[in-house]
């Protein structure tokens, strides 16, 4: 195993990602290799320098932009977005319910119109006395007088 491999181990070691068995092997090598010891020292120094430059402040204007954007993302219910979402129809219960109600109303209007046209009130005639006989001559109907029969 050469120094390049051990230096890879050093990189994993400072991240706490080196298996314990390999750590032992690495420490044995570090005991005899100045080049790798120097590499370990330089990598730790690099880490310290990076850590020192870590302070970063998020601009307050960015906070405001993001929170304002989130507020405007809350959609107010409109007639359009009741039925449409991102350009696609939204088959919500509201849309289906409205369609059912509309169909029912239309159907009842049509049915009642049809019923009115075809409805014929029946007239019932009640006779309290038997109807007299009548004589039909051609197109003439001779009805007897109230007190006499036809042949009288």
């Amino acid at each position: 195993m050469n120094c390049e491999q051990y230096q890879e181990y050093i990189s994993q070691f400072i991240d706490g990602e080196l298996p314990p068995t390999v750590e032992i092997d690495l420490f044995v090598h570090l005991g005899v290799c100045e080049q790798c010891r120097t590499f370990l020292k330089n990598v730790l120094s690099l880490r310290n320098t990076l850590t020192l430059s870590q302070q970063t402040t998020v601009p307050a204007s960015l906070d405001q932009r993001i929170l304002n954007q989130m507020s405007s993302n809350v959609k107010q219910p409109t007639l359009q977005n009741l039925f449409w979402h991102k350009g696609k129809p939204q088959y919500s219960f509201r849309a289906i319910g409205l369609a059912v109600i509309f169909s029912a109303v239309l159907t009842s209007i049509l049915v009642s119109s049809f019923w009115h046209i075809s409805y014929q009130p029946q007239q019932t005639i009640v006779c309290l006395t038997p109807l007299p006989e009548v004589e039909v001559t051609g197109y003439v109907v001779v009805a007897p007088s109230p007190t006499k029969g036809i042949n009288q």
Partner: protein, 177 residues
């Protein structure tokens, strides 16, 4: 009461808007820092940070494993950063080490402090090397988490970290000798 990310994500799933504000407060510095170190430009950084949190809110219901919230959030930030880098990538000639993005580092004679020098060198690393350094050194993410964010294997993450560290320490040594 300080809630964990897992609890906040659950609350956000249920539409709790305060949970979004809390998650934003917890992670805005880390996301901003990552974007700034990757993009260098502060305007681009603000845009990328904003987009990250907006997409986080929009996509939170799709996050099934709430334990992976942080890598997932960084993945979103990474996508924003990479889109910006791809839009602005210059056709630089790569060095023989294939680590550096620029042929020559920024004018190091101007930078008096080692910190400044290191920052300039970091900016000059290729994005895939700069990224693993940022996620490991600044955000203390594990190799597993970094692999999840970048979409690479853990062995690729280990290798890239090693190469980036070696290149930075070598360049620093050249500057001081």
């Amino acid at each position: 009461m300080v809630r964990t990310d897992t609890e906040l994500v659950q609350l956000l799933h249920n539409g709790d808007r305060q949970a979004f504000a809390d998650l934003y407060e917890h992670h805005k510095a880390a996301i901003y820092r990552y974007c700034l170190r990757m993009l260098i430009d502060s305007n681009a950084t603000e845009d990328a940070t904003q987009e990250t949190f907006i997409k986080m809110f929009a996509g939170i219901k799709g996050l099934k494993n709430t334990e992976s919230f942080l890598p997932w959030l960084f993945s979103i930030a990474r996508n924003e950063v990479m889109m910006h880098i791809r839009r602005n990538r210059r056709n630089d000639v790569h060095s023989d080490e294939n680590i550096w993005d620029k042929q020559t580092p920024y004018d190091l004679t101007v930078a008096a402090e080692t910190t400044e020098i290191v920052q300039r060198l970091l900016q000059n690393l290729k994005s895939e090397y700069r990224e693993v350094i940022l996620l490991r050194e600044y955000e203390q993410l594990s190799y597993t988490q970094i692999a999840e964010i970048t979409g690479d294997s853990e062995s690729s993450v280990k290798s890239r970290l090693f190469k980036a560290r070696k290149a930075l320490t070598k360049r620093l040594k050249e500057y001081y000798t």
